[in-house]
Symmetry: C2
Subunit: 472 residues, 2 copies
């Protein structure tokens, strides 16, 4: 437990609304989106960079560990306290100001506590949006800490690509505020320090404000479901689509039949779009879109997509066995329901992997072939972003499977998957979920000693205080 004098001091800084200590108030901040339930010593909710700085300075000085928490939608135990009751949660949820839109610059400066949906809601009138497309609705600070990519990475890139500036509070005794809030698109005047705080799970500082690149909202789109002739043909199909469409292609997502069936089974509002209701083994969602409005005399995008697919279809070695252009909203609703569907089809053990684009299907094939030998009755319900090599590799076991009582079972499964992904396929053990407590062991295992030593040195140099769930 934490001394009462600390609670009093923090309350004096932050006021009643800014510091929660009652169990009922803290419960939501102690519980992760999918896993774990920890215990917080307190939940600090600063409403400004200055308040954040004061809290951090106090906690570092007094040796109190802080766990920064943004939207708390992450899946790697990255934003909740452990069970000790000694860690404080520092929530970004009141850091929603400012909101400074620069229409000519196509940028916005805003608080790291704003939710993605709220940001895009506020931007609606401008015709611009923050182009990271996710199933979840996180707050911006967490998106920065994990460097999320999402479903339109192929067109717009990740959070890193779309971040121009940050304001950061370092975990040192002064709670130093680093003003890296540039709104310049080109600026090469030294180290680009903001990069240190992107994708590093909040261990190097707390992001309180950000300057983001915005893009014009697409004004036309067309979406198709494609059934590849075989797993090997997925790469051929991707190259054929990019050759024909170039940067028109804004999504090229893969969905396993198992994941689609799970969504159709567990999300009753979905319509089965496949002929005769028969879900194929693997399906590609392809989208083309344009930020320019339709012009008279111009071919509608649906027709353009159909034409490209027809040309690929007519090739002697057609990498397709079926393809149909459908209503974008319906298809994307299915795509975004996969996560929900998979979650409800049993006990889910999830992995967020990435590979060279050409290695996604070989990896999946390998795992499907090897799984029965290593683990029985485990269903692979993968889906992901073939266009950027990302795979949400989901494993599902029956909820009443007795192996779930054995902690070694999940550990062995994780070990087996990561060994194949990282050691055999040169992949990443975390594509866009970052590290957190869930992946700490794999960071330690797969990061070369020299890099770990440099990271530890950089941690001491910037934010020596205990911050976050990841140990660098």
């Amino acid at each position: 437990m934490i001394e009462a004098s600390h609670i009093d001091a923090l309350k004096a800084m932050l006021g009643e609304k800014g510091l929660l200590t009652a169990a009922a108030d803290m419960a939501a901040y102690e519980t992760g989106a999918r896993y774990d339930k920890g215990r917080a010593a307190f939940v600090a909710r600063p409403a400004s960079t200055e308040e954040t700085s004061a809290v951090v300075a106090y906690c570092v000085t007094n040796g109190i560990a802080l766990i920064p928490q943004s939207g708390n939608t992450g899946l790697v135990s990255g934003s909740t306290p452990d069970g000790s009751g000694t860690q404080g949660v520092l929530s970004l949820d009141r850091l929603t100001a400012p909101f400074e839109l620069d229409r000519v610059n196509r940028t916005v400066k805003t608080g790291a506590g704003l939710r993605l949906s709220d940001l895009n809601g506020k931007l609606e009138e401008s015709g611009l949006f923050f182009p990271i497309d996710l199933g979840a609705d996180p707050r911006l600070g967490g998106m920065i800490a994990t460097n999320t990519g999402g479903s339109r990475f192929l067109r717009y890139g990740d959070v890193r690509r779309n971040t121009l500036g940050l304001t950061v509070v370092l975990a040192d005794a002064a709670g130093t505020v680093l003003d890296l809030s540039s709104d310049l698109r080109k600026n090469n005047t030294g180290i680009d320090w903001k990069q240190l705080f992107i994708g590093t799970s909040g261990a190097f500082g707390i992001v309180t404000e950000c300057v983001l690149n915005l893009e014009p909202v697409p004004k036309q789109s067309a979406t198709a479901l494609l059934v590849p002739a075989s797993a090997e043909q997925v790469a051929t199909l991707l190259v054929a689509m990019e050759d024909a469409l170039g940067s028109y292609l804004s999504a090229f997502e893969g969905m396993s039949g198992n994941a689609v069936r799970a969504a159709l089974d567990h999300v009753p509002s979905l319509r089965n779009p496949f002929q005769g209701g028969i879900v194929p083994d693997y399906v590609i969602l392809a989208e083309i879109s344009r930020s320019s409005p339709p012009r008279e005399g111009e071919q509608p995008l649906d027709a353009a997509l159909e034409e490209v697919l027809a040309a690929i279809w007519e090739r002697a070695d057609a990498p397709l066995t079926d393809a149909f252009v459908g209503p974008p909203h319906e298809i994307w609703t299915l795509r975004h329901a996969l996560s929900e569907g998979v979650k409800h089809s049993g006990r889910l053990i999830a992995f967020d992997l990435s590979f060279r684009r050409g290695d996604v299907m070989p990896f999946l094939d390998h795992m499907k072939a090897e799984m029965p030998e290593h683990f029985e009755d485990v269903t692979i319900c993968d889906f992901g972003h073939i266009g950027d090599g990302g795979v949400h590799f989901n494993l599902v076991v029956a909820k009443d499977d007795p192996r779930l009582a054995d902690p070694d079972f999940e550990a062995d499964l994780r070990d087996w998957v990561f060994t194949a992904a990282v050691e055999q396929f040169d992949g990443s053990f975390s594509a866009e979920h970052a590290i957190g407590r869930k992946n700490q062991g794999f960071y330690d295992r797969y990061t070369p000693e020299k890099i770990r030593a440099l990271a530890a040195g950089l941690k001491v140099l910037t934010s020596p205080g205990p911050l976050g769930t990841t140990t660098f």
Copy 2:
């Protein structure tokens, strides 16, 4: 001078071809692209990462400063030795291997000593290219060290955005090789260390290999010259073009009448494209392009661009007074000749600035209005990248101007420009040329003390040995 034993030791490592010491052989490596002539103790030309590591380890251990040199096309005295004769040049020019193209992944792994034109030449058959469009023809390592942007930044971004992985030799006593050569597009498993070596002028390590993102070569393009109704209307025009064209718009470049006239005067092969040969005060080059091939029934891009311009033209508050779509090759030849033209029109004092997009024209207006009061007979021959806020702010004085003999003249001019750009307009003193000896004083002046302290700490942590022309 350097001890003969060091030369012998380095020659033993690198062979005859790998170590130059004769004055005639070293001259080209001692001379900058535009400014200065230094004196090298030797020129080391390692042909592999291992040789680079050996040279660096030897030099760090023996206190010999190394200046990494790539294509030596930079403009900030970043790649040449000083006049002392004690610094060795480490040239990347033999580091041209490997060349591993991954067509499905759209990436290439190659040597940092390859020239941009050679890279794109080797890629030609694949239909892909490295999408950084520059007037100069640098080698890749230097492009990484300066994080160049160029004329298609608006569509493709800078080198940072297009770099997936690096192999780097640190300036420590071991010449430690950091293998950061990931070819993954999504990988959030800790600090993204490669960022430290991008845009930091080679001070933190020597890049020997890189993994780069490639894009499909555009298969159609249309280019127009636009005359804005006024300086204020340039921002209106940019927003109107982006609203109508979205990510079709692949360039939005600004050219001052002075720069265009200088090019027409000094590059005889150019044709004057303006009506009656009268060059306007300011001209915008706008380009749209598509990586998809023209399809039957689709409007040609020229017509699409004309239509968009006509719609803008018809607005009551039209931000244009003239616009014409012309032959892309001819217009881009003019654009790329500006640098050459300006260089020949007198003694050039060049600045590479950047601003919020909306501040480019107000800055130029301000400088034009203030210049005569501060400096007489200095002509502003600016051009740049309005679409990303970059301005090549070129000042030209007559070659026989007596003030050129006074070293304070250029220093005062630089001081005046940077003060306005950075302090009045929140701009950057180096958009894409990085620091080098030329901008060291401005790094020291404009970088907050805390950031400088962190940078110095990071230098000690990673590459404590003397490396490059920039002091962090």
